[in-house]
Amino acid sequence: MSPELPDLLREIAQAGPPPRYGVDDAVRAGKSRLRRRRSGVVIAAVVAVAVAIGVPQLTSRASGPAPATSPSPSPSPSAEAVRGPDLTYVLHGFTTGKLRVEDPYRWTVAGETAMIEKKGGQSDAQEGEVTLYRPGIDPRSTLDGAKITATSAIHGRPAYRVDADGAPMLLWEYAEGALALATVRADGPGRWALTPAELRQVAEGLQPGASQPVMLAFGTSYVPPGYRIVEVAGRFSSGQLSSAQLVPASEAVKRIGKPDPDPRTTKGSRGLMLWLSPAVASDHGAPRAGVTCPERVGLKGIPVEKQPRHCYTFLPGGKYVLEVFGPDSADESQLRQLLEGARFGTVDRPATWLAAGTGFPASAQVGGN
C-alpha cells in the first residue's frame, strides 16, 4: 500500500533530534515573558529564550492580482548607486506619538531597515519595519501580487497604499527619487499591529539626516580576496548580535541599484556569512583561544566534500563567538585568517563597537578595489 501524505509528514515530524527544551524551559520562558510585560520594559525584539517574532515579510510577497496603480517614481540608478553605497545610515531614530522608529539595525546594498515599535505594544516584537531604499531602487518587484494604489502625498511627494493579502503597507518617496516601504507585523488572524494611519504617521515623521556610520561589534583586518560586503546587521535579537554577509565582487556589483534578492530563490553560493552570537556549549565547546574549524561530516545525504566550511573563534571572556560560514569551495586557511584578524568592541556596550566602513579592509566595500 502506498504511504499517505499525512503518515509521511508525521514520520518526518517525529524523526527529529532530541529536543533542546522541555516543559520547565517553557514555563521559565512564559514567566520571564510575563515579568517583562508587567514591568512595561520594551525590549526590542530580544527575548530571553532567543526567540523573537518578526515582521512577516511574507506579506510583501503575496500572490494575487497585478498592481492596480504603479508608483510614478522609477528613477534610474544614480551615480551614487553605481559607485556602491557607503556603509552608513541616513535614518535616525525618532518618536512620533505612540510610535518609535529605532535607529536602523540592518544595512544592505539596497537600503537600510529600522524597527517600528508602539508604546503599549508587544514587548518582545516590533510592530513593523521601515526600509529606506537608496535613490533609484524600486522595491515594487518585491511586491508581486500586491495591490498598490495612490494615496495623498507625504511632504509633497507621491505615496501609495500597498495591500498584500490584507496586510497594510505604505510606499512613499521619502527623498528625491528614493522610496521607502513600511511594513507591519501580523497580530492575529486578519489583524495587524499597525493601522494605515499609523504607517502614515511614521512616513510623515521620517526625515533622512546626516550619514552615520554603520556600527558592528566586530571587524577584521582580512577578508578573502574578491569578497564584498552586501549586508550587515546588528542588535537584531539575542541570537544575532552582529552579522555580515560577503559575496564575490561580481555578485555584489550586480546588486547595486536593485532591491535585495530573495534568499529563498537566489541560486548559487551565498558567499561568506559572519555571525557574532552567544556561545553555545553544545555547539562550540569550552571557551578556548584561537580559531576552530570543526571537521566536516556528511549530513542530509550531502557528501562531506560538499559540506560548507565553518570556523569560529571565541571573543575575550568566552561568552560570545564569531563564526564564519562559507561554501564548500572556500579556502579554510583564508577563513582562519579572517577570524585571526578579527577585532571586537565590547558586545554589551554598543558605544565601543566598530564602524563597519573602517572595520573591514577597504577592498571589502561594495565599491572597493
Binding site: 502506498s2 504511504p3 499517505e4 501524505l5 509521511l8 509528514l9 508525521r10 514520520e11 518526518i12 515530524a13 517525529q14 527529529g16 533530534p17 529536543p19 533542546r20 527544551y21 516543559v23 517553557a26 514555563v27 520562558a29 512564559g30 515573558r33 510575563l34 527575548v47 529564550v49 526567540v51 523573537a52 517574532i53 518578526g54 512577516p56 515579510q57 511574507l58 493579502d165 490584507g166 492575529g188 488572524p189 486578519g190 549586508e231 546587521a233 537584531f236 535579537s237 541570537g239 544575532q240 552579522s243 554577509q245 534568499p263 529563498r264 537566489t266 553560493s269 551565498r270 556569512m273 555571525w275 545525504g301 550531502i302 557528501p303 560538499k306 560548507p308 562559507g326 561554501p327 564548500d328
Partner: protein, 171 residues
C-alpha cells in the same frame, strides 16, 4: 504551583513534541523550530486564561513564528549553509522509508513557505480549510488555492524525481 502553571505544564507535556514537528515541517530547521515553539509557548503562558482554545492558539502562533523565522537575516546564514551544499538532486537512501521522507522533505522545502504551511496544517494537523484559514489569517479561498497548488507542486516534484520509485500518495 498556580492553576495556570499546572494546566500549562500538562498542556506543554502533551503538545510540545507535536508543535515542534509542525514548526519543523514549516521552516525546515529543527533548531529554528524549537525556538519558535518555545517563543509561542511563552506567549501562551501569559495569555493562558484569555485563550479559549489553547491548542489552536499554540498551533497558529507556532506556524506563524516558523514562517517569520524564515525571513530573518540570520536565517540567510542557514540558507547559505544548506544551499551552498545542496546537490542538484536528493541523494537516495538505501532504506525506502527514509528515502521517501527525504524526498518529501526536499519537495516541501521547494514549496513557497505559505503553501508549505497550508499543506502541513491540512495534512499533518488535519485542519479543515476554515481552521487553516483562521490559523494563518488567510481567506478560505487562499487556503484552498494554496492547498491545491501545494499538492500539485509536490506531486509534480515527486513525479519528476521518482523515476520509477514508489511515491507517496498525496491526494
Amino acid at each position: 504551583m498556580s492553576d495556570r502553571e499546572a494546566e500549562f505544564r500538562e498542556f506543554v507535556g502533551a503538545r510540545m513534541e507535536s508543535l515542534r514537528g509542525l514548526a519543523y515541517l514549516t521552516c525546515g530547521d529543527w533548531q529554528v523550530a524549537e525556538d519558535a515553539v518555545l517563543g509561542a509557548l511563552a506567549k501562551l503562558y501569559g495569555r493562558w486564561h484569555r485563550v479559549d482554545n489553547h491548542d489552536a492558539y499554540a498551533r497558529a502562533v507556532v506556524v506563524r513564528a516558523a514562517i517569520d523565522e524564515t525571513r530573518r537575516p540570520w536565517w540567510r546564514r542557514e540558507q547559505a549553509h544548506s544551499h551552498a551544499a545542496m546537490p542538484d538532486g536528493v541523494v537516495a537512501d538505501a532504506t525506502p522509508g527514509v528515502d521517501e521522507r527525504l524526498r518529501l522533505r526536499a519537495a516541501l522545502d521547494r514549496l513557497p513557505v505559505k503553501q508549505r504551511a497550508v499543506v502541513v496544517l491540512r495534512f499533518l494537523e488535519g485542519l479543515s480549510v476554515e481552521q487553516t484559514a483562521v490559523a494563518l489569517g488567510f481567506p478560505e479561498g487562499t487556503v484552498k488555492g494554496y492547498t491545491s497548488r501545494g499538492l500539485n507542486a509536490l506531486r509534480v516534484d515527486l513525479d519528476e524525481r521518482t523515476e520509477g520509485r514508489r511515491e507517496p500518495r498525496i491526494a
